[in-house]
């Protein structure tokens, strides 16, 4: 046989092998355009924003339908972003028209309408972004007392007001008078009981920690659902219910109850409950200064400054001054007030202290950073100054001064003590005839506020026979001075005790 014939034979064999290898390939189909199979188009709704507790109504516009009754309709939603777990689809309706009572927490969700042809088992869908907003958001939260119970009046940034926030959302008021509330913007992880008796650990919730002098409640900051009452907020309920202070910095939460310090370390798994108080035979003053590393406190029993952290169990002493300055341990002073200024690392504060043995008061200028010696300066207050006797004090974020309320027969007077080494340190800022000042604080807008909305306000909360008033005064530059007339005044019923700015 000639070599040429051999080559032809081999070529045919190779061709046969290549051909037979395709015999069982069932991967070839006839292709049809999807618009031919299911030509329906969906329109009539786009990205939307809804408010919690409102109703979202949508009727989709369907075109190129043959027989509408034979199709299957499905509306569902799922969070557009999740962290650490897969988004769960929530079926909203099996009808063409959607009528959805918005019960979701604030956030963004993918809202999907799906129209399925059951005969061909194929579908067309339209997905839009649904932004859910809470009607309780940034703004001013005034804690007030009525009939021996505490509620909250909420004023949004645009001035809209929701009175009695707690009761208007169907919750029980707190017993007693307002102490303080804080807003936790994320990472609250309460454990909630399901109807079948099991518990679920919720993740990444926003929360209000609300303290009165006889009660504590933790609410969902989106919809005011109750997470915890005082009785279930502790692993072991303290014998004495005397909430005195609370605060949150980053994800670490601190609380003082009956002179004992509690914390929640936000960087490890937790149930959002308070454990056992930091061990020690101490009883701290209700005032505290937080930093990103911990909290600074003053023990009334030993007149000693302590610091502790949210993750640690010990109450730590501060270092002594290398230059022989006054010791922060076993001091001969009592604390009148400790007034936080800027809480970060380090944190700054003023502590107004009274000598135990003689009629002398001091302003301690404090820089708190872990256990480092905390006193920057200690200044003796001139004897004739009235600031140390004031019931209500507040300080400035920028100026070295202490605002205080002076009681006079026709109403309280807002005054300022300037922390400068001159004899005449006190001056009057504003009179409030017929009103009692109950809270003074210097608050500023958040860093991301538009330039034309930024503010630096001295906020003064007063009570009178007609209810409470909240005054917002412009602070002049970085001085202690304020403009004489308030930028805005809010008012409401009841006796206010505290105001929180959520921004």
């Amino acid at each position: 046989m000639k070599l040429k014939n051999i080559l032809i034979g081999l070529g045919l064999l190779a061709l046969f092998q290549g051909t037979q290898s395709c015999i069982d390939d069932r991967g070839n189909y006839d292709y049809m355009d999807k618009d031919v199979l299911l030509p329906v188009t969906i329109s009539g709704f786009e990205d939307t924003t809804v408010v919690i507790r409102s109703t979202l109504n949508i009727t989709p516009v369907l075109e190129n339908m043959d027989d509408e009754s034979r199709y299957i309709h499905l509306w569902y939603a799922a969070p557009s972003m999740t962290a650490g777990f897969a988004p769960q689809r929530d079926t909203l309706s099996l009808k063409k028209e959607l009528s959805f009572d918005v019960t979701y927490e604030s956030g963004t969700y993918n809202l999907v309408y799906e129209l399925r042809d059951p005969k061909l088992d194929i579908y067309v869908r339209k997905q839009v972004l649904m932004t859910v907003q809470s009607d309780v958001s940034t703004g001013w939260y005034v804690m007030k007392e009525e009939n021996g119970e505490t509620d909250i009046d909420y004023i949004a940034m645009d001035g809209d007001k929701i009175e009695n926030l707690i009761t208007s959302f169907g919750q029980q008021r707190l017993k007693g008078k307002p102490i303080k509330m804080v807003y936790q913007s994320s990472r609250y992880t309460p454990s909630v009981q399901n109807p079948d008796g099991t518990t679920t650990n919720l993740v990444n919730k926003k929360a209000f920690h609300v303290f009165s002098d006889q009660d504590i409640k933790i609410f969902n900051a989106d919809n005011m659902d109750l997470f915890y009452n005082y009785e279930d907020y502790f692993y072991e309920v303290p014998e004495k219910c005397q909430p005195q202070n609370c605060g949150i910095i980053s994800t670490d939460f601190y609380a003082i109850n009956a002179g004992k310090v509690y914390s929640i370390y936000g960087m490890s798994s937790n149930s959002g409950m308070l454990g056992f108080a930091k061990p020690g035979m101490y009883e701290v003053h209700p005032d505290m200064v937080m930093s990103y590393y911990g909290v600074m406190l003053f023990d009334k029993t030993t007149s000693t400054f302590y610091n502790t952290s949210s993750s640690g169990s010990s109450m730590n002493l501060f270092s002594e001054d290398a230059n022989g300055g006054i010791s922060p341990t076993n001091m001969d002073v009592d604390m009148i007030h400790m007034l936080p200024r800027y809480e970060s690392v380090p944190s700054t504060a003023f502590a107004v202290m009274r000598n135990k043995n003689r009629d002398e008061c001091y302003v301690f200028d404090i820089s708190y950073s872990m256990s480092d010696y905390p006193f920057v300066d200690i200044d003796t207050i001139p004897v004739h100054c009235e600031m140390p006797d004031a019931q209500v004090m507040g300080t400035s974020l920028y100026a070295s001064c202490i605002y205080y309320a002076k009681k006079e027969s026709d109403g309280d007077v807002l005054k300022v003590y300037k922390n400068v080494k001159i004899d005449n340190r006190e001056s009057e800022l504003k009179r409030f005839p017929g009103e009692e000042i109950v809270y003074i604080v210097n608050l500023t807008s958040s860093y991301n506020t538009p330039e034309d909305e930024k503010f630096n306000h001295l906020v003064v909360l007063t009570n009178s026979d007609s209810g409470w008033k909240l005054y917002r005064f412009n602070v002049i530059g970085q001085t202690p001075e304020i403009e004489p007339e308030p930028v805005v005044v809010y008012s409401g019923t009841g006796k206010a005790g505290y105001v929180m700015l959520r921004n």
Binding site: I6, Q17, S269
Partner: protein, 248 residues
Amino acid sequence: MKIVIANILIFLLVVGTISCKENTALEYENDPALFFENSYYTQRDSIAHTFFIQPDDQMRDTVFVEILTMGYPTDTDRPFVLEQVNAGQPGAAIAGKHFVAFDDPEMTAHLVIPKGSVRKSFPLIVLRDPSLELEEVRIELKIGENEYFRPGIETWTNFVVKTTAMAVKPTTWDSYWKYTFGPTWGSVKMKFIIDNTGFSDFDGGYLASDYGDYLGSKVQQKLLEYNANPNNPDRPLKEADGTIVTFE
């Protein structure tokens, strides 16, 4: 040149033909066997049990030993054999005295891998004999062989259960509990923890971290109060050898 091309074509043809040979999957050959579970998060190679953390009138307790199977599950129950290999040796637990014997009618129902299952939490019942107040005894276990199972992974077919009525240092004390209660361990400290927190499940799983913090802070506070109370004659609290109890 043509011969070279012909050889190349022949080579490609042979390779192409060989490469088309049907590919068959490897099949598992069923050979049922048993071994003791050995995991960082469940059990290692032994369990230390003590009646110390139980009420004084509790005379029996159960130690669960995790046993895993190899091979396919079946739709019928399969008995298995568990043997004590140190019987009669010094320090060995005595069946009927320190634990319920495996041939006792109470135990035979538990020596079974249930149908459809690939694991068994075997309940070894330990008995509070008075001798345990002064000693610790060992039950050295081995997977036996019968018509249903052979011993499985060789290094995990032996297991030890120790029991006593004296305080026993939890096996995870140095790797876990020391972060809650401090690095030192002693029987007085152990009893103080149990008496003041009610917590005694030291061989259970890990705790939620904030609950662990709660326990740690509570015993620290209780110890401070104990040592500050003049009515406590042995303050500061000490172990039998004089070591002062601390939780830090």
